[in-house]
């Protein structure tokens, strides 16, 4: 399988603090990867570097073999990278439907747009609230709306930053099934997550970040059998 995303010696420091320190990461096409690690490990910073919200201090980012390190964010999105933020950034004062239309209209028009809109509303189970302001949705529903907006761009790689934050166990489970479904359709997905049950539900491969560096990588079973990982992350002394 081809590598879709690669980071080489990716480093970002804020003043003297290294948020990301020489990360080499390779994501294969069609993979479903989980990024875990304690708070402050640099997970969200890594996503922001990949999407271009931050410029790296050192290192390079390659997407499908092209160097995108200095590319502006919207151009990265146009190449097929899409992201759901940690804090949902849906357009609160617009209707649910309008949120999706704005995401859809770049790639779709006319009847195809309407069809895709219905499909997405069904996917996130918000059809009955399509004419509601996004601000009136529950936190979990806003998360779904944002996932749907990210999916609307038909990305080849989807980055999900804590997609289940603030969700009930049932909602978390549904989100897991949604992520698996999207991955089965061929989308490469990278997920930052704290909920280990959720990680177990979806992940095939897990990367552990610690102090801005890759600490371990492997299947979930390999990861949890590593005593050092358990010590730094899972909280056992």
């Amino acid at each position: 399988m081809a590598t879709i995303l690669e980071t080489r010696g990716l480093t970002k420091y804020f003043g003297g603090l290294y948020a990301i320190n020489g990360v080499d990461l390779a994501i294969e096409e069609g993979e479903l990867r989980c990024l875990i690690g304690p708070n402050g490990a640099g997970k969200s910073t890594l996503f922001k570097l990949i999407l271009g919200s931050y410029q790296p201090s050192e290192g390079a980012i390659l997407f499908r073999g092209d160097d995108i390190t200095t590319l502006r964010p919207h151009l990265r999105v146009q190449r097929g990278i899409s992201m759901k933020f940690q804090v949902p950034g849906v357009f609160l004062e617009l209707l649910v439907e309008q949120n999706l239309r704005i995401a859809l209209q770049r790639a779709h028009r006319g009847a195809a747009l309407e069809q895709e809109l219905e499909r997405l509303l069904e996917l996130i189970d918000l059809g009955h609230q399509r004419s509601e302001l996004a601000a009136n949705l529950s936190h979990g529903q806003q998360q779904w709306l944002e996932i749907a907006m990210a999916v609307a761009l038909q990305p080849s790689m989807l980055l999900l930053d804590e997609p289940t934050a603030g969700m009930s166990p049932e909602e978390t489970f549904k989100t897991g099934e949604l992520v698996k479904k999207l991955n089965a359709s061929g989308m490469t997905i990278v997920v930052i997550e704290h909920d280990m049950a959720f990680v177990r539900q979806i992940a095939k491969r897990v990367t552990v970040l610690h102090f801005g560096q890759v600490f371990d990588e492997g299947s979930l079973d390999e990861i949890v059998s590593n005593e050092d990982v358990v010590r730094i992350y899972l909280g056992k002394a």
Partner: protein, 359 residues
């Protein structure tokens, strides 16, 4: 109906359907017939109220729809006015020269807006700082024009005249055999009215189009809009230029209206007025902006004519009251109250859709 025309109604504009458009048609018709019923002085006054509408609609687009608070509208207003003055005084009213001057008076603000806007948006200036930069720019321009009183400040045969302002520019003139059509009095009123209608309808289509969708997305959350693949800076620059050209249109029509333009039409007071009109009506809707602009320019004039020195203070009071009690603007708030009441009455008879509860 063609797709683009159907966009006159949409999520980004209040009012739709036969009832709304019937009222709209009647108002336009009544306005068009007014010059046959009222005297010349009243026609001149009516024209004056309409002249400001373009600048306000431009600000509604920049600020209300795209979320960029610009104090630069009066700079482009002034630039357009002076451009028309300089060109028309030099070239006279023969042939189509006055129309050429009008065109140039719109092109020049566009070019300046591209340059200023480029540095603002591509330079990463955001939020309240855009207001500060545009206000500084406006005041610098005003100060510069105010010191052009000396005879050395002459372009061709047009003297800039400093704080006294520039005057005696010819009205718009169309050659028509031996009797050229001169756009003053009712003819000028009809021209301005036609432009108001055209610009209003054009903007309704624009804000409900895909372009308008992206504008409101940028207003709500520019970072999110960028993450949907939109070139946010380019959209901001485009909307800034469109709004500035509209300010220019007000500037050139104002100059034509009074055959006069002065630096004070760009100063701090002048720059604050469009903000008040737009905020008072409801900046996120062009219909509300249009109504508020006509109403408030009429009100200021009434107050000034009645000998009150407090017209501007009243404008300030109106702004304060609106910001405190109807932050969305008077007309938008009233409209939503009206609609909300109707929806509630409907819901009383139709069972409410139960939304799935979630944590």
């Amino acid at each position: 109906m063609p797709r683009w025309l159907a966009l006159v109604d949409g999520p980004q504009t209040l009012g739709r359907g036969p009832a709304f458009w019937s009222v709209f048609g009647m108002i336009v018709l009544a306005a068009a017939l007014l010059p046959t019923f009222v005297n010349a002085f009243a026609v001149t006054n009516l024209t004056y109220f309409l002249v400001w509408v373009f600048m306000a609609l431009g600000l509604s687009l920049i600020w209300g729809y795209a979320g960029i608070l610009s104090f630069g509208q009066t700079a482009f207003f002034g630039l357009a006015g002076y451009t028309y003055g300089v060109i028309s005084i030099n070239l006279g009213d023969a042939g189509l020269w006055t129309w050429f001057a009008l065109l140039l008076a719109l092109v020049l603000p566009a070019i300046l807006a591209i340059v200023v806007g480029y540095f603002i948006f591509y330079g990463g200036v955001r939020d309240v700082f855009v207001g500060i930069v545009t206000l500084s720019f406006t005041l610098v321009f005003e100060t510069f024009m105010a010191q052009t009183a000396g005879p050395e400040w002459t372009i061709g045969s047009a003297r800039l005249n400093g704080f006294n302002g520039m005057s005696n520019m010819p009205p718009l003139t169309l050659p028509w055999g031996d009797n050229p059509v001169i756009f003053d009095g009712p003819a000028f009123f009809w021209l301005v009215l036609a432009l108001v209608v055209l610009v209003y309808l054009g903007l309704r289509i624009l804000v409900n189009s895909r372009f308008g969708n992206v504008l409101v997305a940028i207003r709500e959350n520019p970072d999110r809009a960028e993450m949907l693949g939109y070139n946010v800076r380019l959209y901001q620059l485009c909307v800034f230029v469109i709004g500035s050209v509209l300010a220019g249109m007000s500037g050139v029509l104002y100059t034509l209206w009074g055959s006069y333009i002065t630096p004070s039409s760009m100063g701090l007071t002048a720059a604050a007025l469009p903000i008040i009109w737009v905020a008072a009506g409801g900046r996120k809707d062009i219909t509300a902006t249009l109504l508020a602009t006509v109403l408030l320019t009429w009100l200021s004039q009434q107050l000034a004519v009645k000998g009150s020195q407090y017209a501007l203070i009243w404008m300030g009071v109106i702004l304060l009251v609106v910001v405190l009690f109807a932050p969305e603007g008077l007309f938008v708030t009233a409209w939503k109250k009206l609609r909300g009441g109707r929806r509630m009455r409907q819901n009383a008879t139709v069972p409410k859709v139960i939304s799935s509860p979630s944590a």
